[in-house]
Amino acid sequence: MTEQSVTIPKVFADSPIRDLMEKALGDERLTLADGVRLYESDDLAAMGWAANAIRERRHGNVTYYLKNRHINYSNVCKYDCFFCSFYRKSADDEGGWEWTVEDVLKHVADYKDTGLQEFHIVGGVHPDLPFSYYTEMLTALRDEHPGVALKAFTAIEIAYFAELTGKSLTEVLSELKEAGLAMLPGGGAEVFADRVRYKVCREKADSDRWFEVHEAAHALGIPTNCTMLYGHIETAEERVDHLLRLRDLQDRTGGMLSYIPLRFHPDNNLLGSKKLGEPTGVEVLKNIAIGRLMLDNIPHIKAYWVMLGIKPAQLSLSYGANDIDGTVTWERIYQMAGATTAPEDMTEERLRQVIEEAGRTPVERDAFYNEIADTQTVGVS
């Protein structure tokens, strides 16, 4: 990036967040108070410009996508999180399911040798399945689909496996790694503040435990992602606190590849029934931009289109995001919460068109953000 292109345009001369734009562009770290000011500002264009300048400095015009497939192996869960529309108490309840390892293999059989890069595997916290179910699932997938990275189990699931087996997090993660685990997704972070967790997900692992899981994974060389579920009861300060805790962890370990702000969906869950509306499109872009501006040590910001909607996700590519996730294909967690995007219809060709409309260069990646040489537009669609 040339010197000229980091000159802040004249139109932002009187922006109330001009000092923060300069600070971020000068590689100075933003503080809690700075982050709160950004959330409270409605100067979307100014924060978008700054976040985009930093995004382009890091990644140029490239926008990543990948060919991936979600596996939600079960939605049976022992917890009752108020923001969740996905879980059921039993596989026998209406809308409940649990797959055997054979079921899992059958569901993804069509993907053999198609150039798929990643299985994204998450489920509820199942009260009855033995730990061996999870290791067997990973091994079976690895054997059947060599070359497809297994990104599996949120920190909440991992913490539960430790509880279930009486083993340490490191032992549990080592066994999963041995079985084929390549990476952890970023889910279960929600909002770290105790006040919020107590109100929306008091049963699940607390924020300290979430960090212990990720730190243990990083120590074993397992990279992870991180998330924030915004737009329910959290304050601006609690959002920024969340981002700063992620930044601290990354300073210690460097093990996180991407940050994914997740938009709360209010349908079919207890929080939504309390008359919480959907976060606005402006909130979507602000969360992307502020994530980029605050998290100076996390390489990638992902606009997860299934969660944001394809249109806001596309706009996010100009507000700090450099990754739009993938073809996904079969996703239930946000569909059951009222998301209107239909991953079944998404093709690689369409993802590339969406990225190109935004003036970006689509680049296919693997699960670890390595570029795939010689991108094919055939394959799974």
Binding site: P9, K10, V11, F12, S15, D42, D43, L44, A45, A46, G48, W49, N52, G277, E278, T280, G281, V282, E283, V284, L285, G309, I310, K311, P312, Q314, L315, L317, S318, Q353, V354, E357, A358, G359
Partner: protein, 367 residues
Amino acid sequence: MTRDRSALLERAYDKAAAHERLSYKEGVALLEDGDLHVLQALAHKRRMHLHPERVVTYIIERNINYTNACVTYCRFCAFYRRPGHSEVYVLTNEQLRSKIQEMVDAGGIQILLQGGHHPDLPLTWYEEMLAFIKGEFPQINVHGFSAPELEHIARLEKLPMRTVIERLRAAGLGSLPGAGGEMLVDRVRDVIASLKTTTADWIDIHRTAHQVGMTSTATMMFGHEETLAERVEHFERCRELQDETLSYNPDGGFTAFILWTFQPANTAMWRYPKLESHQYLRAATVARLYLDNIANLQASWVTQGPRVAEISLLSGINDMGSTMFEENVVSAAGTTYAMNSESMERSIRECGFEPRRRNVWYEEVTV
């Protein structure tokens, strides 16, 4: 970018910031090479300059499509049926009454009355429909008949346009929608709608409406055959006519400009890649800066969805459009978003504005 181009762009930014009129070349430079965030900031400043109150307006209005029979066969349309097709309909008076009553019960004040180009209905049929509506609901404004519908009726009746407009107005027509504008560039019209009203005729029909003292809106459907420069050409056609109308009527003729993206599914033009929102946002910002003589810009939540409509409120747009109630044209092409007055007001408030109900002339309507 060449040095000349950079200089042109900088000059366009400066003129836009100073609220000066942009030339066609400057408009093209902005749309082709302008920085999205700079455009967004400039357009939002212009919008706040034109409408300093932190208010976003909307109207409670119902779409009514009186027929889907059409003999114009536009390639971008998924709504029409050829005469004789089993799905052809023409609404009865009873159907009209119940649709309008439903809207009135929800606080509505206007219908957007449009239809296909039916081969057999005479002008008297339209006059009777208007007379029926105004007889039943005298308080309702009928915002109706796109320029191509009017042209179709005038041709069938072999009457001058002015006569058709005056007779419909006498029967109860209140204002004209901007539909059928599509792209006001004949090269593009020849490709997408070769049987439809030409650019000059579309402009002339709106000119006639303005001359007899009616207001209208202008629209643009983009994201198909046209180039970026042709989008600006479309803005230019609208700005020119508004200048002309302003020369004899200080209120002007176009009350608003509405742009939306072409929805290709189920149309003969399905091969064009569907635009999502990036090009929409860019076009909206340049429209706000270029159309310095048209007061209002409407969000197209119908094609863009409520989330992008919210973003557009910080990007030059000052009106949420209409509640619609039913939408038959874009939804026939597979796009189905929904908003009602409650969700609109919520969106507007969440974006930091006060919602305000309006009529077609952008006057406040008290609830």
